[in-house]
């Protein structure tokens, strides 16, 4: 039995859980990490000033791809102070989908910066709220200042077909990146 994962990131309320839920075969589940528990996998928690416990919740979904292969989709915890969870999540991940709401583009900057720094393949998915895309893809590309080979596409997080094709684009991008670094 093999499992792989894809990370779904973006600002608060941008549609991460909707995205996960529209394609998942299970109703998205929530796993909770206790902040002090994070030391299980992360080297450095010493910066955490608070000795109490903080709970970080992550939503995730599951897709059976073939008899022996399962794909998990993990929504990132929104707050930036939970980077430690992100380190855990991206470890061994295929890549990430950064969902953006063009009305609040800046909220996606931290995720974009983080994935760039981590060398994780990622794509930008513009979630069209109510089917509206007020800005063009090239506007978004300019505003995000991502490398030109990062795919930027439109999606409707509520629509299974749309999320599915977004995931396909990410996997293709991850393959391209892997072949180019050989």
């Amino acid at each position: 039995m093999t499992s792989v994962k894809i990370v779904v990131a973006g600002g608060f309320g941008v549609g991460k859980t909707t995205f996960v839920g529209s394609v998942s075969e299970i109703t998205p589940l929530t796993t909770e990490a206790v902040m002090t528990a994070a030391s299980t996998d992360v080297d450095d928690l010493s910066y955490v000033p608070d000795k109490g416990t903080t709970t970080v919740a992550m939503d995730f979904g599951r897709l059976t791809l073939d008899a022996g292969l399962i794909l998990y989709l993990f929504g990132t915890p929104g707050q930036h102070r939970f980077w430690f969870m992100w380190d855990d999540l991206i470890n061994g991940a295929i890549g990430a989908v950064v969902i953006v709401d063009t009305r609040r583009l800046a909220e996606s900057f931290p995720a974009v910066d983080y994935f760039e720094a981590a060398g994780l393949p990622f794509i930008i998915a513009i979630n069209g709220f109510h089917g509206q895309f007020p800005y063009s893809v090239s506007d978004v590309k300019d505003a995000l200042a991502v490398s030109p080979n990062v795919p930027i596409l439109r999606c409707d997080a509520r629509d299974r077909k749309s999320t599915k094709s977004t995931l396909i684009s990410l996997v293709e991008h991850a393959m391209t990146m892997q072949m180019s670094t050989r």
Binding site: L29, A33, L63, V171
Partner: protein
């Protein structure tokens, strides 16, 4: 299959119960320190304020912004250990071993719950979410169970970074068939 590396020396069941903290603090407010009353204390005070006098417990303002709970509690079932015996990814797959254990009742309730839930392959994330165990606790328990042969664990060795091209091909064709 991951090998159970770096088994730490701490036996899982040595039950290092940390005594509950808080005993020492109770006396603080009742000590003699707050005896000298400010002169305004004899004046009538707005209702509610007076109650604080003996306790010295600070203003009844909004609660501290972070909710502090007992550190120990989430890890009580692991004997206080937060480090699993080997690293388990959040998506690592877990299944109960075929040779179902002789007598399940000798196992703790968490072990029983995990074995029951993992009749089919489940991820660490699912174990955590469905059985309502914090992620770190689920990892410690499953790693222990794997070492004891109660469950099998499958996870990709990520020492080499990302999933390889063959696996990505498989993911791609699986997605396309959905």
């Amino acid at each position: 299959m991951p090998g159970p590396e770096e088994v730490d020396g701490t036996p899982g069941t040595d039950g290092q119960e940390t005594p509950p903290v808080g005993e020492g603090r109770d006396s603080a407010g009742k000590g003699g320190q707050d005896r000298p009353r400010p002169e305004w204390s004899s004046r009538p005070l707005p209702s509610g304020v007076k109650k604080l006098r003996g306790g010295d417990s600070g203003p009844p303002g909004p609660a501290p912004d972070t909710v502090k709970s007992a550190l120990v509690r989430p890890y009580a079932v692991t004997g206080g250990r937060t480090q699993p015996r080997y690293q388990l990814q959040i998506e690592a797959m877990v299944a109960a071993s075929h040779y179902e254990v002789r007598d399940l009742s000798i196992l703790g309730p968490e072990y029983q719950a995990i074995l029951g839930f993992c009749r089919d392959w489940r991820s660490i994330a699912e174990i955590s979410a469905v059985l309502r165990l914090p992620l770190g606790v689920a990892r410690v328990l499953v790693a222990d169970m794997a070492v004891d042969g109660l469950v099998r664990v499958h996870q990709i060795d990520h020492a080499h970074g990302r999933p390889d091209l063959n696996l990505l091909e498989r993911v791609l064709s699986g997605l396309r068939k959905l």
